[in-house]
Amino acid sequence: MLSKYEVVIGLEVHAQLTTNTKIFCNCSTTFGNEPNSQTCPVCLGLPGALPVLNKKVVEYAVRTGLATECSIAPRSLFARKNYFYPDLPKGYQISQFELPICEHGRLEIDTKDGKKTIGITRIHMEEDAGKLLHDSDAGSRVDLNRACTPLMEIVSEPDMSSADEAIAYLKKLHQIIVYLGVCDGNLEEGSFRCDANVSIRPWGQKELGTRAELKNINSFRFIKQAIDYEVERQADILEEGGRVVQETRLFDTDSGTSRSMRSKEEAHDYRYFPDPDLVPLLVSEEWIEQARLELPELPEAKIERFVKEYDIPHYDAEVLAAERTNADYYDALVKLHGNGKLCSNWVMGEVQRALNENGLKISDCPVTPQLLAGMLKRIDDNTISGKIAKKVFDAMWKSGKDSDTIIEEQGLKQVTDLSAIEPLVDEVIAANPGQVAEYRGGKEKLMGFFVGQIMKASKGKANPATLNELLKKKLAGE
């Protein structure tokens, strides 16, 4: 039944910006403090107080616009969005309406049918509202610490045709803004919130169907659930000969369903008009160019560079570039060591394992790229084997000491001296005549058994290459 309809999805993302101070005053934006402790006359909306735009917010929005190929408006306006709510101290929200800072951008996503471009209609800046704290006995209270913290709203074109595409778009956008350092991307804390506009239409129909707006969905999983549920709901209505009504719906994560919040008729008339307390925002061409120059390398470019310069598989590059901190770690490591593939194996392997086990982020990794590169060099010069290296790595993790100290202290230096290995080889051959006969009879798989035995006897320190060569000769009876 669903295949009768084409799904059309547009997304609105609200990203909280990581500036130190609020968008229109100097109050701190840090979370978790005493209610109303981070406030001043401006963000309290006291009579007589006036907003002053935080330039950093503009910088962040422009950065995002440039990273998504938007055109940056040389002149943009702030507007008042008027409505009453106790968490909105001025009775209006300062936002942008006509003339937003960024327009006409795009983002490329990977779909099951290949690459697809999703249009970005606009990006604008606005202030957040406060928070209502509901107290059963004392009634509701208002905490305005969050009031006036900077938000960026990123509105897409209705270019996505499935929940999977919507998620691909959101993940891509999320990755970019976190890469840009403008948003911490924390979905649970609401730093990255999403509203979805969903409609369906019979295949081939030109005009869009009536859309429903799904509000404030705060995880990638719920977005898929919410969209899938909505598509099915609308299809059911159409199948029964009904009509979809334009409305705002609230998704309930517990039941996996949504309910109507308000219909179009009940929609607010926000009476937008240019905020007379703020002058038009002028952004010069030079300033935009400067911001463009200061843009960090974005994931796409990074993946390409890793593949090309470090000669690693595309898969590795993608994994490493997924998060900027990971990529930075890897980048630093390769620059110190030189072997791209060895480095990617270690970062994706041991480093990631240890981080997961300890619940740490790579930015807190006790084994720095310097320490790790130093150890990898000891593998290269045969001081230690790859196997012993894991032991050294764990020791570095725990102690913070460098690899040379640990190798020295624990006597982990690899044995390459033939005269030291030969007696061990002879001993194992002598102790296992049966296996030797089998080997010589053609069961070459037993090679591993002999290597294991000798390694054990050397406490793992025998150089595997030297050992292999010698063992082969001896078993061949030379």
Binding site: P41, G48, R80, N82, F84, K90, G91, R271, F273
Partner: protein, 485 residues
């Protein structure tokens, strides 16, 4: 001569010379307020204790030889200026218990100079009115005739100076709210160029039009007080970073060769004959002083009042949304839920004129009407501004009446809001153009009521304005007339 009859510059000289003290002067004004305010009702709040403490501090500063021009000078503020620890009502019941935690920029500047603040002055509620009859603290009466209005909205600021209850005051002017009451009360009032004085800490009525200005006894005081509060303020994005000139330095430069524009659209039928005569006489005096009168045209004048009442009310409808009873001000408590709390608090807290303007402005911004009203008004505003810029290509200042009539009687126009709105017909265009204008006394009506002359200057042309006004003032003695109170 009494201390309360003196100007800022006269008192400053006496204080500096040690011939009187700020405490003595302050006490004299406090006594005068106590004696006269039951007849005038200029004050909403008087703060004698704080004033005397400030006077004491000022005297110490004077003694130390560290006096600024306003050190120890008793002033009073329109109750629209937010004052730390001092109740600020905007003459509204919705703020009748509001004690701000901060000082606005203009007030902070006065305090830095060591000025003494006697109290907060009556006004039309939220600065909406032309007669001061819209105050929830009762009307102000004109010191020249208690049956007449003092003008509005800064009626308290003008009446207070005329009644010699303070040396000078600050008011605000959105469509004539300093100039029209100054004219009706026979004192000097100046509305600076938009962006000249910070609006930070001034309760907003119409943000794109509001401007702070002085109300004083003479032009020299006006120059001094303007100089004290003017200047760029990073806390007000609409304040403009233009250096503040020394207004006193050029005050006495005269008007020789100055071109004075007389807009033909302002000398119309219906202009009160006494007003017409007084203004024409003023033109003659300026001519005698060496100025050259020139007829100019401001062709879009007719649209100004309509344009103003769309823009000002639209902004007001949004500016006044914060008075919702949630965090400060008055809340009606027997409410049935949130929406009812908003409705009842606002219904009880706002007076009829404020409600009228909120409704008008809400309508003008509504979806479907925005283009026809608000946007159209903005376009007209651009044309009006251009009218002035064109005129200033030909002349240095523009001269007009301040109001079509002298002060009218209390109750005379309250039944007809449109009639009331027309009393600002000559002052409103200056706010729309964003330029500066001032009012100074130029005569008396046959009924013994003061008549004001309006001078309009180029944007940031306050110097020329003050220089012209000073020359005119010194040629006569209108500024020395005292209200019979």
């Amino acid at each position: 001569m009494q201390l309360t009859d003196l100007t800022i510059h006269q008192l400053h000289d006496l204080l500096r010379a040690g011939k009187t003290s700020s405490q003595e002067v302050t006490q004299a004004f406090l006594d005068r307020i106590a004696d006269t305010d039951e007849h005038v009702n200029a004050f909403i709040t008087v703060c004698p204790q704080e004033a005397l403490q400030q006077a004491e501090a000022a005297d110490a500063r004077l003694k130390a030889g560290d006096a600024a021009p306003l050190t120890g000078i008793p002033l009073a503020l329109k109750d629209i200026f937010v004052t730390e620890g001092l109740r600020t009502t905007c003459a509204s019941q919705i703020l009748n218990n509001f004690v701000p935690p901060y000082d606005g920029t203009a007030v902070a500047k006065l305090k830095e100079q060591g000025a003494v603040i006697l109290g907060k002055l009556n006004m039309d509620e939220f600065a909406m009115g032309s007669s001061n009859e819209n105050s929830s603290f009762g009307p102000v009466r004109n010191p020249w005739n208690k049956d007449c209005v003092p003008g509005g909205s800064s009626g308290g600021s003008a009446a207070c100076v005329a009644a010699r209850q303070a040396v000078a005051t600050l008011g605000t002017d959105t469509g004539g709210s300093i100039r029209q009451p100054a004219s009706h009360c026979g004192v000097v009032g100046l509305k600076p160029t938009y962006g000249r004085v910070s609006r930070y800490g001034v309760i907003a009525y119409a943000s794109s039009l509001d401007q702070v200005g002085p109300v004083t006894r003479d032009v020299e005081d006006c120059a001094m007080l303007l100089g004290a509060v003017a200047g760029y303020d990073p806390a007000d994005s609409t304040s403009v970073d233009v250096p503040v000139p020394d207004y006193l330095a050029t005050l006495k430069d005269g008007v020789k060769g100055l071109k004075v524009g007389l807009p033909k659209e302002y000398f119309i039928e219906g202009l009160d004959p006494d007003v017409k005569k007084a203004v024409e006489k003023a033109v003659d005096i300026l001519r005698e002083l060496g100025a050259e009168p020139v007829e100019v045209s401001l062709p879009h004048t007719d649209y100004a009042v309509a344009c103003y009442y769309l823009i000002a009310t639209a902004e007001a409808s949004s500016n006044l949304a914060r008075y919702d009873g949630v965090r400060y001000g008055q809340r009606v408590d027997q409410e049935q839920g949130l929406i009812d709390m908003y409705r009842q608090s606002r219904a009880a807290g706002f007076g009829p004129e404020v409600k009228r303007r909120i409704m008008l402005g809400t309508y003008a911004l509504s979806s479907g009407y925005y283009d026809a009203y608000y946007l159209k008004a903005q376009k007209v505003r651009t044309l009006i501004r251009q009218d002035f810029l064109d005129a200033f290509n030909q002349v240095d200042v523009i001269l007009t009446p301040v109001a079509p009539t002298p002060a009218f009687e209390i109750g005379e126009k309250t039944a007809n809001p449109l009639q009331m709105y027309l009393s600002d017909i000559f002052t409103i265009p200056v706010n729309l153009a964003g330029t500066c204008g001032m009012s100074l006394p130029c005569g008396m009506s046959q009924k013994g009521l003061p008549i004001g002359l309006q001078l309009i200057g180029r944007p940031f042309g306050e110097e020329t304005l003050l220089r012209t006004a000073y020359a005119f003032e010194q040629a006569g003695d209108w500024h020395q007339q005292q209200a019979p109170l």
